[in-house]
């Protein structure tokens, strides 16, 4: 059985709600994490992201100044300071399908709908640690590969062309958001 040495991971948690930050800090410390940095808005989180170079970012969506979606977009700048490949887990009260799609298109790696559970958070962290996806850079997207299955039925304007590409066999972000836990 594989487990994660959380004491080797550095987390950045961004949520404007102090109670939720406390919950997250409690969960991460219980998992074994020692380095958990916290921010209450997207702007501060971006500064901390450059300064502390976290291994994993966990962010809320709805926040003042700039929100979690904008934070994800700013992190996913290929030439920006910090690590543009860092896994981003969006932890949010938003629970609509279109929100999952927006988060995916902003470069979010995992989506976790509130209410939070220890199991749900652990599974998302385990997934980004054990199963990192390749990154895709197009004219208007830079982030984890959004393809999660091998069907060739998608014919929309963002269909990638120019050769076959291995696809990670994983449930879609939406299917994973619907999973219990």
């Amino acid at each position: 059985m594989y487990r994660i040495d959380f004491n080797k991971l550095r987390f950045l948690v961004c949520d404007d709600n102090a109670h939720m930050r406390r919950i997250l800090r409690t969960l991460l410390h219980s998992f074994g994490a020692r380095e958990v940095y916290e921010s209450e808005d997207g702007a501060t989180a971006l500064e901390m992201f450059s300064h502390y170079v976290p291994d994993i970012v966990i962010t809320d969506w709805s926040m003042p100044i700039f929100d979690g979606l904008e934070l994800a977009q700013m992190i996913r700048q290929p030439d920006a300071n910090g690590n543009p490949y860092a896994p981003i887990i969006m932890l949010t009260g938003h629970s609509e399908k279109r929100r999952v799609t927006l988060a995916r298109d902003a470069g979010v790696t995992e989506f976790l709908a509130k209410p939070i559970s220890a199991k749900g958070l652990y599974q998302r962290i385990m997934n980004v640690v054990a199963n990192p996806r390749p990154f895709i850079k197009t004219k208007n997207y830079f982030g984890p590969d959004r393809r999660r299955n091998t069907t060739n039925s998608y014919v929309g304007p963002e269909r990638r062309t120019g050769g076959a590409m291995e696809v990670m066999q994983q449930p879609s972000l939406l299917d994973k958001a619907r999973m219990p836990g």
Binding site: N17, Y85, A118, T161
Partner: protein, 192 residues
């Protein structure tokens, strides 16, 4: 903690995109353990949450006060963008946190309020009672949480408010297909 050097990227170029792979930078944090040595981190975290639960009643009360304060500003000065955002964030936080704090019905009522704020085309035209009843209901549900005889009433109240809110949102968004679709779409949250 000294950070290891970032691993080398491999870039494959295609006609309209690049595929970038790197050796898993976090592979060093995975460790194999025998089943007998497995100390369940999820169980440990659940216990830690349980230990923290003594705070939840106070936290929920603070969240409710914040919601009431945001509503009071709107009743006094009307719907400015700032006031709207604060009301939404206060309701949205309750939607996300309440179930964790042990108040799932308050969370469901807050979700209904969030839907009104998000999908009503003009908040100044939303019947004031619809918003006020949601906020009063959330406060009452939290206040009466310890009274087990009121749980059925709380569930019924929450469902009825959601029904009225949905009816209003469907009617008001008939000419706004994007919002109508969002209003009618099922939640992605398991068990909803």
């Amino acid at each position: 903690m000294a950070r290891p050097k970032p691993p080398t990227l491999q870039v494959k170029a295609f006609a309209d995109h690049h595929v970038i792979t790197q050796p898993n930078p976090l592979r060093g944090v995975m460790r194999y353990v025998e089943d007998k040595d497995f100390d369940d981190p999820v169980a440990r975290a659940e216990q830690a949450l349980q230990d923290l639960s003594g705070e939840f009643e106070k936290w929920m009360s603070i969240e409710c006060d914040r919601l009431a304060a945001a509503h009071a500003v709107i009743l006094k000065d009307g719907f400015s963008a700032l006031a709207r955002d604060e009301l939404f964030r206060a309701a949205h936080d309750i939607k996300g946190d309440a179930a964790t704090f042990g108040y799932p019905t308050a969370g469901a009522t807050a979700e209904s309020l969030c839907r009104i704020i998000e999908h009503a085309p003009d908040l100044t035209k939303v019947p004031g009672d619809l918003i006020a009843h949601h906020i009063n209901a959330i406060q009452a549900i939290v206040r009466e949480q310890s009274n087990s005889q009121r749980i059925g009433v709380a569930n019924e109240l929450s469902k009825r408010l959601r029904g009225v809110a949905d009816e209003y949102l469907v009617a008001i968004n008939r000419e706004r297909p994007e919002h109508l679709e969002a209003v009618l779409a099922p939640s992605i949250v398991p068990g909803d």
